[in-house]
């Protein structure tokens, strides 16, 4: 059953089209990542789903509600982890979790939650005194204090050090093991790859690719890149179709048949007595696929 169903979502800010026709369908228990650079429209989509922002057009259904019109009963079932930690600095960790927890019909126990996010030693510290990473972990705790069915995580680990990141990831895994649905936005490839069941890459307000982390952007069938340096020689007659020559003489060949292509290219070079300086053969990493998808790849 789809928990989130979005069709043809459009959002304009004045003249700017932040989201231009996005479709999403996310099932219960799924971890879905919206991956994209800053300003791609991820947060706008999430904020529309959370009910913080009104859409311009399209249809949106979350847990059967229209978030723009939904009220208390919708918000009792969702949890929101904001991009920036926004809590009263004067409160202690425990007080903040207590006061926000008191708003929900179901709630997690304060002590257990504090342990879960690894703030046990900071229980009675003022929020003012917490480090950036500790604040984000508190934010995470506040997002799940109401034991929500659906959790929105807007860039949950931005600014985390590697160990805090691992810890945040294990909390998300813990949520999924409890059957929660998670929608997260991130601009980290590895985060999407590690956490998500499915990933949608978003650029300039549109979904440019969608799939599991392994098949994203046709990665498993993607072309191999053969590159080398040419100086003073024409590349005419190079036995491959997809050849590009950059200004500094770097030649890139996209190949779906790397073994054969490499044989033909080296044969061509030997025939003409040309040295292929810096010859390399690479398969694109997930990062390359991602950069290409969002339009910031090699040709940018």
């Amino acid at each position: 059953m789809a928990v989130i169903e979005v069709q043809g979502l459009v959002k304009h800010y004045g003249e700017v089209e932040a989201v231009c026709g996005v479709d999403l369908s996310i099932d219960a228990g799924e971890v879905f990542a919206l991956l994209g650079p800053n300003g791609a429209g991820k947060s706008t989509i999430v904020e529309i789903l959370e009910g913080h922002r009104a859409k311009t057009s399209g249809s949106v259904s979350v847990l059967g509600y229209d978030p723009a019109k939904a009220g208390r009963s919708y918000r009792e079932r969702i949890g929101i982890v904001l991009q920036e930690t926004a809590v009263e600095e004067q409160l202690t960790v425990k007080e903040a979790i207590d006061v926000y927890g008191s708003m929900y019909p179901k709630r997690r126990k304060t002590g257990e939650l504090i342990e879960l996010v690894g703030l046990g030693e900071k229980t009675d510290s003022r929020i003012k005194a917490l480090s950036g990473g500790q604040r984000r972990r508190l934010e995470l705790a506040l997002g799940i204090v109401g034991d929500p069915e659906l959790v929105f995580l807007d860039e949950p680990t931005t600014g985390f050090d590697p160990s805090a990141r691992r810890q945040a990831w294990s909390i998300v895994e813990n949520l999924t093991s409890l059957g929660k649905t998670v929608l997260l936005t991130t601009h980290y490839m590895d985060e999407a790859q590690y956490l998500a069941d499915r990933v949608a890459v978003i650029a300039k307000g549109q979904i440019v690719a969608e799939g599991t982390p392994d098949t994203l952007g046709g990665r498993e069938t993607a072309s191999t890149l053969i590159t080398f340096q040419m100086s003073g020689h024409s590349i005419e007659g190079l036995p491959s179709n997809e050849v590009t020559l950059s200004e500094n003489g770097r030649v890139t060949v996209r190949s779906m048949d790397p073994t054969g292509d490499l044989h033909r290219i080296t044969g061509w070079a030997i025939e003409r007595g040309v040295e292929l300086a810096g010859l390399s053969v690479t398969r694109p990493s997930l990062e390359d696929i991602y950069l290409e998808l969002i339009g910031e790849g090699t040709d940018a």
Partner: protein, 276 residues
């Protein structure tokens, strides 16, 4: 939802939480509770605590209630406007909006907390006046003093939220509340009693805004010259009018998020736009 927390419980827990925040913010606590008290003490020293000829009461008998009103207005109008606007700047209002807490309960908790702090400020001021400065309290006018207080702080709380609703940031809330409260306090007889020679327009300004309609009846309730129970229905009605208009406009214009171009998030968004 059978286990949904009751509105009463939520309102009470919000009120407690707002009180806690206030008392842990030394600046707010100082300016609301201590500053008016300081002015009162200074005035009593400077003018000497003797009968002021044209008022017919002692310095303390006038300034204890007038500075009590100033403290009450600071606690409601200034504090609500400034803290609410700052909370919006920092995304706290947005967070609250994303929880099941009904918005009216959140704002209700803020208002009740502000009124409790105002009541405390008034009690401290009057107690010090009575104990150390010989201020007289009259049983016959206590009821009208209490009603004037309640109507006054409720109206000024509404006005504070209206300011929070229309300003773009915490800084501008501070500027607007100070730029309105301080001059009005001078015109309305909080700090000084305008003489009969004051220009007519000054009188008109004072009469238009609600502060004078709070100070005059409250001070009168502690004046030995007041005859009867001290009810000033005109002033009470006028404050109610201001309060109702403020509530309507505050609801109309209230924003839970800082406007675009303000606050960290939108700044970042702007920067991104130039990158892509």
């Amino acid at each position: 939802m059978p286990d949904r927390p009751s509105t009463f419980f939520l309102l009470w827990s919000q009120t407690k939480y707002q009180n806690k925040i206030f008392f842990r913010n030394p600046m707010a606590a100082f300016f609301t509770l201590f500053f008016p008290l300081m002015i009162f003490v200074v005035f009593s020293l400077v003018f000497g605590n003797q009968e002021i000829g044209y008022l017919g009461v002692t310095t303390a008998q006038y300034y204890a209630p007038s500075m009590a009103v100033f403290a009450a207005v600071s606690a409601t109008y200034t504090n609500l406007a400034v803290t609410t606007a700052y909370q919006r700047d920092r995304g706290i209002l947005k967070r609250v909006r994303g929880t099941p807490l009904p918005p009216a309960v959140y704002l209700g908790g803020k208002i009740i907390s502000a009124i409790m702090i105002a009541a405390m400020a008034v009690l401290i001021m009057m107690t010090i006046g009575v104990v150390f400065y010989g201020v007289q309290v009259y049983a016959s006018t206590l009821a009208s003093a209490a009603v004037t207080f309640i109507v006054g702080v409720a109206s000024f709380a509404a006005l504070g939220l209206l300011i929070a609703a229309v300003v773009s940031s915490g800084e501008s809330a501070t500027a607007v509340t100070n730029a309105t409260l301080l001059p009005l306090s001078f015109f309305s007889g909080v700090f000084i009693v305008p003489s009969d020679d004051a220009p007519a327009w000054l009188d008109a300004v004072a009469n238009f805004f609600p502060l004078k309609h709070f100070v005059e009846p409250f001070v009168a309730a502690f004046s030995p010259l007041t005859v009867g129970a001290g009810w000033d229905w005109g002033s009470l009605g006028y404050m109610v009018l201001w309060g109702v208009i403020a509530v309507v406009l505050a609801i109309r214009f209230f924003k839970w998020e800082a406007p675009v171009g303000r606050g960290g998030k939108s700044r970042r968004r702007k920067k991104d736009a130039t990158v892509t």
